[in-house]
């Protein structure tokens, strides 16, 4: 069953950055790219639990801040290494600028 979450105004995430959201049972990282799209992934890097939301974002990927592993934000696929893939979640922005997340 999918559960929907209203994560509040998109302005909570600065353009080009990510933020971790604590949903109680689980934590997710939500990213807002400079082109305006949003992506959601698992919060911790599968390598050694680096905080992915603190990573550098660009060209559709995030680079984990701890050891530089790179993941595709849309698919969760590892890029150039064999760790992961990371879980990705469905996320969108409503017309009034709120971030809506669905978890399976």
């Amino acid at each position: 069953m999918t559960r929907d979450f209203d994560l509040g105004p998109v302005d909570r995430i600065p353009p080009g950055e990510g933020r971790t959201f604590d949903l109680g049972s689980v934590r997710v990282a939500v990213f807002r790219t400079r082109s305006g799209s949003v992506h959601a992934t698992q919060a911790d890097c599968p390598h050694r639990a680096g905080p992915l939301a603190d990573g550098l974002v660009g060209d559709g990927c995030v680079v984990c801040p701890l050891h530089g592993y790179k993941y595709d934000l849309a698919t969760g696929d590892p890029l150039g290494h064999a760790c992961g893939p990371i879980a990705v979640h469905v996320v969108s922005i409503t017309s009034d600028g709120r971030v809506m997340l669905s978890l399976d």
Partner: protein
């Protein structure tokens, strides 16, 4: 066209993958459909570098050799993560897990070795698995498991004082564990070393803090749930949180045995590398050739080449006649080259030894019939290249043996790689000759990276990279610098620094996203962002449009991220001079916020570690001290000594000067970090000559200014830039140099590389003699940067972005109603 035949390779390790590469390079795909089975769930990686992964100098991502794409691009079917379980030689079929089977016309076994695990009581659980805390060291998975466990351990025992055991020991030592090496023999590395060299190595290792127990037989493991110690045959015990077994390797032959192929110690092969079944071949550590099994990579490169020649049909008669084993290694960071015999064996053999315990240098030659029969070179790699060649080519030696041991002494002459003959072997890991490197440069490789990728030189232990660079420079000359990609300032924008700076100025690009938009087709390479941000800040100063997403996390929250996602806080303590009141305040803050460790740093200040992100603003507020910038590519510290105020030798006020320097240049952004020091006399207690910029007081009220020094990953003594007569002049010259460095260095290039690249004479002409008339402009520009400085910790009360210091936004009540 004839039907392509089917070639199956078992083992995607160093030998199997290399063989397939060699086969593809020889057009072997025209004749064969290739399927490669690998038990490990990856593309192939450089097993040698597992030691470096453990030692923390390489990331696992750095050691992969071929990405998965390489296999598809070259039409090779890789079945990674699949173990071959049986061979049906009559039907010519291999069976792998999950019912997968594959028919073959020719089969290559490259199954490597398995760690030898001595029978220790209580090592294994009932299901045969190791008790928690026990490890072997063979694969990437082993390495990562070991590192994870070491993170929560204090003390480790390694069984085995051979190459592998000592590499494991060094890695664990680097991770901060107390490390004990337990070895069955009377000296370390007895396979490669004689007793004297073994003892010398032992001394060096003990000097690093390792504990070594020789002639010790282990008989069992202590501990219920997990390993808690070891029991020795003599009844003694040693407690420990973890155990690494590195007691040797055994060829991995089970598959061959089960299939009825002839096996002795290894899978027996002839000079054609065929086994007792003419359709089945073997190479690498699993193979036994002329009675010998090998445990190093160099021989298996030769085997891979020969087998590829044969199967690709290039030279169907090529033969492998065995390898003379010589190797250059780093054992726990100590240089070691060994070749041939380690001791005299015949009565007329001559042994030449040199031993210098204080420096940890030991050299020994075994000479037979005027030729080199063996050598051990420990702690000094300088004589290794010439001796390795004499050994490999079996050349007669010079009568003056000292010339061989001391190539730099009066009679000998140190040959640079560029001066060596074409057949000289440059990369001893991958067996690449100078000729092959020269040919690749002539064939268009212009950067060190493409050259290494193409020839494989430098991709083993990496110790020959400098030589490869020297050859590149000698052959390509200016052309080497004409290849633009080597000189891009950041990987994601195809421009060298001067052109990039010009384009940014001309187009008025003030933000990182504007640079991507205008100069990189809108493609925002994340790895290039921090470099661009640093450059734009240097160019535009206050007019720079600061986009926070372009910064690395450390520079977004002004603290250094730790392995557990907490941060460290290092407040600025000018010149390392503090006061009781300041110390008391730091102590209070540390206590209130539960700093997990309080540490005196190597930069003469204090580090509060383990602070959660959301507490950073409060910690800064309470400290009331400016940021020490211990996290950024910027001016960090100026270490000082006690100088004229206290020290009986001091001839200059190094403390006062250092404080003035730090107050003036604190936080100045640069392509890489800047660490400075001032010393009150040439005794140099603050290590000013190995700093990015250092000032040393000399008699007569004068100061020597050194630039380009460093004692980090590279050790380099700084070059003397000039001697000046006052604190003001020191401040000015230092600023001038730093501004020039800021404008001209590549991103991440420390001054020790920059000064070497630029040349100290040229720097003196530019900065001291002012030949091009830029000095005044540099002084003005650095002053402007100083004036623009704002302490980033003031963001405690004026955050720059939403939720800047939030660890995780609380969204526990956010679930939408159904």
């Amino acid at each position: 066209m004839t039907e392509r035949r089917k070639l199956v390779v078992v083992g995607n390790g160093m030998a199997g993958a290399r063989f397939v590469e060699e086969l593809v390079a020889r057009g072997g795909r025209d004749a064969w459909d290739v399927t490669l089975f690998g038990d490990e769930p990856y593309g192939n990686y450089n097993r040698i570098l597992l030691s470096s992964v453990l030692a923390g100098t390489h990331q696992p991502t750095d050691i992969f050799l071929n990405p998965l794409r390489w296999y598809t691009d070259n039409g090779v079917t890789l079945r990674a993560g699949l173990r071959v379980r049986g061979i049906d030689r009559r039907a010519r079929v291999v069976h792998a897990g999950n019912g997968v089977m594959e028919r073959y016309d020719a089969l290559v076994l490259a199954t490597g070795s398995v760690p030898f695990v001595p029978p220790l009581e209580r090592l294994r659980l009932d299901d045969g698995a190791f008790r928690e805390g026990a490890f072997v060291f063979r694969t990437l998975d082993d390495t990562e498991a070991m590192m994870r466990y070491a993170g929560r351990s204090k003390k480790a025992v390694i069984i085995g004082g051979g190459l592998l055991g000592l590499e494991a020991a060094r890695g664990l030592l680097a991770m901060g564990l107390e490390v004990h090496v337990v070895h069955l023999m009377k000296h370390l590395m007895e396979v490669q070393l004689d007793p004297a060299a073994g003892r010398m190595l032992e001394r060096l290792l003990k000097g690093m803090g390792m504990h070594v127990h020789l002639a010790r037989a282990t008989c069992g493991v202590i501990g219920e749930e997990r390993v808690q110690g070891l029991l020795f045959a003599d009844g003694l015990t040693l407690d420990s949180d973890m155990l690494v077994i590195a007691a040797g390797i055994r060829p991995n032959v089970q598959l061959a045995v089960d299939a009825g192929i002839e096996v002795e110690r290894g899978i027996v092969v002839g000079d054609d590398l065929a086994t007792s079944d003419a359709n089945v071949f073997a190479l690498g550590e699993c193979a036994q050739h002329r009675g010998v099994t090998y445990g190093l990579v160099a021989p298996l490169w030769e085997q891979a080449r020969v087998l590829a020649e044969r199967l690709a049909g290039r030279a169907p008669d090529a033969t492998y006649v065995g390898s003379r084993v010589s190797t250059k290694l780093k054992v726990a960071g100590v240089d070691l080259a060994v070749m041939g015999d380690r001791e005299a064996t015949a009565p007329d053999d001559e042994e030449v030894t040199y031993s210098e315990p204080a420096r940890g240098v030991y050299k020994k030659l075994v000479v037979r019939g005027g030729k080199l029969a063996g050598a051990i070179l420990l702690g000094d790699a300088s004589s290794a290249p010439a001796l390795l060649q004499a050994f490999d080519r079996d050349r007669p030696l010079s009568d003056d043996r000292s010339e061989l041991l001391f190539p730099q002494s009066a009679h000998g002459s140190q040959t640079s790689a560029a001066d060596q003959p074409d057949d000289a072997q440059i990369c001893n890991c991958n067996g690449v000759s100078k000729g092959a490197i020269v040919a690749a440069v002539r064939g268009g490789c212009r950067s060190l990276k493409t050259l290494c990728d193409r020839t494989r030189a430098g991709t083993g232990c990496g110790s020959c990279k400098r030589d490869v660079g020297a050859i590149l420079e000698a052959v390509a000359g200016d052309a080497a610098s004409e290849d633009p990609s080597v000189h891009y300032y950041v990987p994601g924008v195809p421009l060298a620094k001067p052109e990039l700076v010009r384009a940014i100025r001309e187009r008025g690009l003030k933000s990182v996203s504007a640079v991507f938009r205008d100069l990189a087709d809108g493609k925002e390479d994340p790895a290039s962002k921090p470099g661009l941000a640093s450059l734009l800040k240097t160019i535009w100063r206050a007019d720079y449009e600061d986009e926070r997403d372009a910064r690395f996390i450390n520079d977004r929250v002004h603290a250094n991220i730790q392995r557990d996602a907490t941060f460290s806080v290092v407040p600025r303590i000018y010149g390392g001079v503090t006061s009781p009141a300041q110390l008391r305040k730091i102590a209070d803050v540390a206590e209130r916020h539960g700093a997990r460790m309080v540490k005196i740093t190597g930069g003469q200040r204090i580090d509060l570690l383990g602070i959660p992100k959301e507490r950073l603003p409060q910690v800064w507020r309470e400290l009331g001290m400016p940021s020490g910038h211990a996290y950024s590519k910027a001016f960090r510290t100026c270490k000082t000594c006690v100088g004229t105020d206290f020290c009986r030798y001091g001839v200059g006020d190094s403390t006062g000067l250092g404080i003035a320097i730090e107050k003036r240049y604190q936080g100045l952004e640069a392509p890489a970090k800047l660490k400075l020091a001032t010393a009150g006399c040439p005794r140099n207690c603050s290590e000013a000559t190995t700093k990015d910029v250092g000032a040393v007081a000399i008699e007569g009220g004068r100061w020597e200014i050194y630039v380009g020094g460093g004692a980090g990953s590279r050790v380099r003594k700084g070059d003397l830039l000039c001697v000046v007569g006052s604190h003001e002049e020191v401040l000015r010259m230092m600023g001038r140099f730093m501004q020039h460095y800021r404008e001209n260095a590549r991103y991440g290039e420390r001054t020790y590389d920059f000064v070497e690249r630029f040349g100290i004479e040229k720097l003196r002409r530019l900065l001291v003699d002012d030949e091009e008339g830029i000095a005044a402009r540099l002084d003005v520009d650095v002053q402007a940067a100083v004036d623009a400085y704002v302490d980033p910790w003031t963001e405690a009360d004026a955050p720059k972005t939403a939720e800047q210091f939030t660890d995780a936004i609380d969204a526990r009540g956010a679930q939408a109603a159904e």
